[in-house]
């Protein structure tokens, strides 16, 4: 049995240490993920609380897992989705949960940035919310593409493809900022 599997079985059985281990191990990462969907700490904390309440109440009826983080992230995302759309049943059918967080660079004041940085930020701004979410899970959480697709309900290879496209877009902007050809012209004229 893997470590996760064993801990999860103990969690299901209502083991005290398993609860505190799982909770303290994952609270922060769940919180950091949850807040990306709605910038409201109280709301996210409530959602995490409710996720755990449900897990504790379900006990032995929970399915097994050998990947606790994956399980919790999925559960939290579902919970946030439900909370956000609970009063709008019709919209909920269509909508997906928007990853609203912005990259740290986008939050920084623009006037201090050079032209290359600005080009990079522009490229970041153009990334879709899906791309942001995949990048977050991959680059900040270190998840495998398989897990990411599982959490986001994506087809096999699409997470990897979306990341590749994001990298390409950033690269093009870093290597050929718009100012570049203008400088060349000045030099040769």
């Amino acid at each position: 049995m893997t470590k996760d599997k064993e801990i999860w079985e103990r969690f299901k059985a209502g083991d005290k240490n398993a609860l505190s281990f799982v909770y303290f191990q994952y609270f922060n990462s769940m919180f950091q993920y949850g807040i990306k969907f709605r910038d409201d700490a109280e709301f996210v904390k409530d959602c995490i609380h409710d996720v755990f309440v449900k897990l504790i109440q379900a006990g032995e009826r929970l399915s097994s897992t050998d990947n606790i983080r994956f399980y919790l992230f999925r559960a939290l995302k579902n919970k946030i989705y439900k909370e956000i759309y609970k009063d709008k049943k019709e919209e909920a059918q269509m909508a997906h949960l928007e990853f609203t967080a912005r990259f740290a660079l986008e939050e920084e004041p623009e006037d201090e940035a050079g032209p290359k940085e600005r080009a990079l930020v522009r490229a970041l701004k153009n990334l879709s919310d899906r791309q942001r979410e995949i990048i977050y899970l991959r680059y900040e959480c270190g998840m495998e593409y398989e897990e990411i697709c599982g959490i986001m309900n994506l087809k096999n290879d699409s997470a990897r493809k979306l990341v590749f496209r994001a990298i390409k877009a950033l690269k093009d902007n870093i290597e050929d900022p718009i100012q570049f050809p203008i400088l060349m012209i000045l030099k040769f004229s």
Partner: protein
């Protein structure tokens, strides 16, 4: 270092786990430096890839430890109850009951921080217990008087030397002691008290009030833990002050409700008439600013982040308990259970299939029997009740759904 890196493009590097670990956490710094020295042709690609990977970063939020522990404490209680017959975590909905951990931490600090020695009058032995059956009055002289009725009327004479109970019993009070008298009201009971200055106080179930038998000096100070409704006798020269563990309420002749239940993390003041000023309690306060309320306003002071939010409310909703009514508007079933458990001194037990967060609305007359009140709730929500002595077993009328 792996040979493959010699031919890597920017895209390859940006997706490589080992490369990402280096950029994000500095893992393998030496090896990468060496690689760069041996393959200077890859410098540009690596620089660009570093920029990209570094750009894939989000702001980290910080969460106060106290609130992480608060949630945990609540969950742990729920877990501990699981093996036993499943008792509803009645604290859960009080935001995080869990804040109990936090409050206890403050509680321990109070004796050192509070300048007012009277705060210490609330020792643990007089806290209302679930098992208590009678309300108790502890006089300044230390005498304990048990109050047998579900709702007792107490009144202290203007001179402060006589106590009248339910209009029929009169007890002489010791005038020499300058100790505070204490009234402890257990769950399932309520008390009305008229103080020596003529101020009327309705004390709700599960609450306690410490007060001087006779007011002397420049202030009229009482100490509250729990919920009470005050009609303060006017005296412009001697302000009336309600002290709670987090907040002082200074009164200028007025009617208002204070709720400061221990297992909640907020203090709530609703003003019906007159004017009150709110101030953080004694030595705890960093900023001694007074917040004033006008009638129909409700102030909620959050103990965790120490902020006060003020809004206009329907005051009858907050004060109807003094008439034995309980009104709830879109409140969770759990909240309703909590209030009822206080009035009727019962415990609610559920099997975990009841949707306790479902919101219901209605008005209950608490002079009715528990059975009659539960009937009203089962009409409004898909639950049924079985009463077993002082336990109410709640079951869902909906089919059980397995959790995925």
């Amino acid at each position: 270092m792996d040979k493959k890196y010699e031919h890597y493009t920017v895209e390859d590097f940006s997706q490589d786990k080992r490369f990402i670990d280096w950029v994000k956490q500095g893992v393998g710094n030496e090896a990468w430096k060496e690689f760069l020295q041996e393959h200077p042709g890859q410098t540009k690609n690596i620089q660009t890839a570093r920029k990209i990977v570094s750009a894939f970063r989000f702001q980290e939020y910080t969460v106060a430890d106290s609130s992480i522990y608060a949630v945990f404490d609540d969950l742990e209680k729920l877990r501990a109850q699981r093996d036993k017959p499943k008792v509803v975590s009645l604290r859960r909905f009080l935001k995080y009951a869990a804040v109990v951990v936090f409050i206890l931490a403050i509680g321990a600090a109070i004796p050192f921080l509070l300048t007012d020695k009277n705060q210490l009058h609330f020792s643990e032995e007089i806290s209302p217990q679930m098992s208590d059956t009678d309300a108790r009055l502890i006089t300044a002289g230390g005498e304990q008087i048990l109050l047998k009725n579900n709702q007792s009327d107490l009144s202290i004479s203007t001179s402060g030397n006589q106590l009248k109970i339910d209009q029929d019993t009169t007890i002489n009070l010791d005038e020499r002691s300058d100790e505070l008298a204490k009234l402890v009201v257990p769950y399932g009971k309520r008390s009305n008290l008229q103080l020596a200055d003529g101020t009327k106080v309705w004390i709700n179930a599960g609450s306690r009030l410490a007060f001087p038998q006779k007011f002397t000096g420049k202030e009229r100070k009482v100490y509250l833990d729990g919920e009470a409704y005050f009609e303060v006798a006017k005296d412009n020269k001697v302000p009336f002050i309600v002290v709670t563990d987090q907040m002082d309420i200074r009164v200028y002749g007025t009617k208002f409700n204070v709720s400061n239940t221990n297992n909640r993390n907020w203090v709530e003041v609703v003003l019906v008439e007159g004017s009150v000023g709110l101030k953080e309690t004694g030595g705890m306060g960093l900023f001694g600013k007074e917040t004033k309320l006008v009638p129909n306003q409700r102030a909620v002071y959050d103990k965790t982040d120490r902020k006060t939010a003020i809004g206009i409310v329907d005051v009858s909703y907050y004060t109807c308990w003094t008439q034995g009514l309980f009104e709830f508007k879109k409140e969770s079933i759990l909240t309703v259970f909590d209030k009822l458990s206080r009035y009727y001194n019962v415990r609610f037990i559920t099997d975990g299939d009841v949707e306790l967060h479902k919101k219901i609305s209605g008005k209950l007359d608490l002079k009715d029997s528990l059975e009659a009140v539960l009937k009203v709730i089962s009409d409004a929500a898909p639950v049924s009740f079985t009463i077993d002595e002082n336990q109410v077993i709640v079951t869902s009328r909906l089919k059980k759904l397995p959790m995925k």
